[in-house]
């Protein structure tokens, strides 16, 4: 099992503490503005809901230069004021350590998991450091199913704005659900609870140096938990409000890392998803209520323009990656958009086929994987634009129904995926399918 070398201060701290029952991990990079609030919420959660257990809050930092680690260590928690307690509770420990290796959330998690194992933790929760809506109850909701109900993995369930979480809604959720049969609504939510058994399994893995080290970590954790038969549930956390990420962050790189991890795991768990039948919802804990959400504004025209331009420039790459029938649907859509079609619409079948074709192309061309994933960006943008236009006047429940429809489409196309997965020649695959869906895919755009 490949182990990382612990930083000196982490090693000294674990030797001093010796053991902890609960570990709460917070990965960070330049989050001084918000991390204090997250640490206080974690502290309060431990004190309020798990006072009888030894807890530790670990911040795994990627070399922040804005004083994030100072903010962690100096966050003040007044237990008695916070929770109206008359008897003082034992304060949880806190630790802020820099991680080494590939910069990214996954590397930060790896250090947290390693420390959790060294401390003999029974349960571990991870929360993002840019959260504005986290409350102490989140800690309870993420850990209680593990501590008291025998679950191994607790995924978050939030209310999000209809245009928020578009990678989740348009790719990761429908695909994960169709592949592995369990409906986990926020598979890349960012906040998770885990059992010691599952943490141990994560640490045994040898693919930490891939996209998992970066944004791929969330889907990697969720997929392993589902595909390897760990007990998985969801906890309703309310609304997810968080700071905007670095404006300069590269969408294409994010998409590549997340979707790349999904596609890579598809290869590993091929024997699992080939057996998948009907899907089932993951158990949901917590009291559900409606909340107000931050609005998300989208420039649809710019997105459609980007798609039209890309359709001309990337035709060669898309043609190599996709089935000819799918490609003809994309071409038709681009033609309509270019001609100024009033209602730009990418239908569910076309989008699902695009994603599945890219998964197959990713499998058959190890050398060009990065290229294939990056070329998906423009198609994803087109799908988001179409989704935004279609759901413009819809309320949250209607949007959820719309996403459910997309999920059903992915599930219906499982035979198509199986056929193309084992028949990597795009020309053969296309000809075999041309008969039944050429008209339907191209005609609806």
């Amino acid at each position: 099992m490949p182990e990382i070398v612990l930083p000196d201060e982490a090693r000294r701290a674990t030797e001093f503490l010796n053991r902890a029952d609960i570990v709460i991990g917070i990965p960070s990079y330049n989050n001084a503005r918000t991390i204090g609030h997250v640490v206080r919420a974690a502290y309060a959660g431990l004190a309020k809901y798990f006072p009888q257990w030894n807890g530790i809050v670990i911040n795994s930092d990627g070399g922040s230069t804005d004083g994030t680690r100072d903010a962690v260590l100096s966050a003040r928690v007044e237990d008695s004021h916070l929770m109206l307690l008359t008897t003082p509770v034992v304060a949880a420990h806190r630790l802020s350590v820099p991680y080494h290796g590939i910069p990214g959330k996954g590397s930060a998690f790896r250090l947290i998991f390693q420390l959790a194992r060294n401390l003999g933790a029974k349960a571990c929760a991870v929360v993002d450091s840019d959260l504005r809506s986290i409350t102490p109850e989140w800690i309870d909701l993420l850990l209680r199913p593990v501590m008291f109900a025998g679950y191994d993995f607790v995924a978050p369930y939030y209310h999000r704005h209809k245009y928020d979480g578009t990678i989740t809604n348009s790719i990761v959720y429908p695909l994960t659900r169709a592949l592995y049969g369990l409906r986990v609504r926020q598979p890349i939510g960012g906040e998770f609870g885990m059992s010691a058994r599952l943490v141990e399994r994560y640490l045994q893995r040898e693919d930490w140096e891939t996209d998992v080290a970066r944004y791929g970590i969330d889907i990697w954790m969720t997929t392993i938990a589902i595909a390897e038969g760990f007990r998985v549930c969801q906890s309703f956390l309310g609304a997810k409000l968080h700071d905007a990420k670095d404006p300069g962050s590269d969408l294409s790189a994010m998409l590549q890392q997340v979707v790349g991890s999904v596609f890579l795991l598809m290869q590993e768990y091929e024997n699992v998803w080939e057996q998948t039948g009907a899907t089932a919802p993951a158990e949901l804990f917590g009291f559900r209520y409606d909340v107000g959400l931050d609005p998300v504004q989208v420039n649809v025209d710019r997105m459609i323009q980007t798609f039209v331009r890309s359709a001309g420039d990337l035709r060669e790459i898309w043609t190599a990656a996709m089935d000819p029938v799918t490609m003809s649907g994309v071409n038709e859509l681009a033609r309509q958009a270019e001609a100024g079609a009033r209602h730009f619409h990418m239908d569910d079948e076309l989008w699902a086929r695009i994603v599945l074709d890219f998964a197959c192309a990713y499998k058959r061309s190890p050398v060009s994987r990065g290229l294939i994933l990056k070329s998906l960006t423009a198609l994803y943008i087109a799908r988001v634009a179409s989704f935004v236009i279609e759901t413009e006047t819809m309320v949250a429940s209607e949007v959820e129904e719309r996403i459910e429809k997309l999920c059903m489409q992915f599930e219906e196309l499982r035979p198509y995926l199986r056929q193309r997965w084992n028949n990597p020649n795009p020309l053969q695959g296309g000809l075999e399918h041309a008969g039944h869906s050429e008209q339907s895919v191209a005609g609806r755009g």
Binding site: E316, R364, L371
Partner: protein
């Protein structure tokens, strides 16, 4: 007069007889050799094709992604490539063996020259092939990057990348063959120097506009914060 004519006829006949007796056996031997090698080449091509088909090499290469790396259209088969290479190698060997039968200065010189040049030709060919593949690969990578970065004329920029890489490969191959070294080297210096000069001028011209756009962008950032947040929410 008749004596002279008869002597000319006699000399011509002798010369013909000499040529026939000297070269005909060699020619027949050469033709036999070439024919034998041709038959062997056809046979080798057929056998290799069958063996590779039986071993399902094409399937393995396709599934491992190597075939897709070499030829994205999926039409090229490794079995066919190897079989054709064996066929042409045997045919070429037959031709050289046939020439060697004549044992003249000219044929010996031709064969020696070819044998001496062959390894260099093969290496140069491999360099050009590698350059062609690399230019395609990096060109596509650049194209996708340029499209995602919303750069103007991404296809043309990618084409420039492809041409530059291909040009470097050709210069290296020519250098290896010691063929028109100075010409290619001079062209290389001119192209690279020209590219650097063009880039410098472009940067200088764009600096003013870029600075202005950057300042405008900063002002617009706050207005577009909501729009950007689409990408920041995973």
């Amino acid at each position: 007069m008749l004596d002279i004519l008869s002597k000319v006829w006699q000399d011509a006949g002798d010369r013909l007889q000499y040529h026939v007796t000297t070269y005909l056996p060699s020619l027949l031997a050469a033709l036999t050799l070439i024919l034998s090698f041709y038959v062997a080449a056809v046979l080798a091509r057929w056998v290799l094709h069958k063996i590779f088909k039986g071993l399902t090499i094409d399937k393995f290469l396709r599934q491992s992604g190597v075939a897709y790396m070499i030829d994205r259209s999926g039409r090229l088969r490794a079995s066919r490539l190897v079989a054709e290479a064996a066929y042409w190698s045997l045919l070429l060997s037959g031709l050289l063996m046939g020439l060697s039968v004549f044992n003249t200065d000219l044929t010996t010189h031709m064969i020696e020259g070819f044998v001496f040049l062959l390894p260099k030709l093969i290496v140069a060919g491999l360099i050009v092939l590698a350059g062609a593949w690399l230019s395609q690969y990096l060109g596509r990578g650049f194209l996708v990057w340029a499209v995602n970065e919303d750069l103007p004329m991404p296809r043309r920029l990618a084409a420039v990348v492809r041409v530059l890489i291909m040009f470097v490969a050709i210069v290296v191959a020519a250098e290896h063959l010691q063929f028109a070294r100075n010409v290619f080297f001079a062209a290389f210096v001119i192209v690279v120097g020209g590219a650097v000069l063009t880039a410098a001028i472009a940067v200088a011209i764009a600096a003013g506009g870029g600075l202005r756009r950057m300042l405008d962008d900063r002002r617009l950032h706050s207005e577009e914060r909501g729009e950007r947040s689409l990408w920041s929410h995973l």
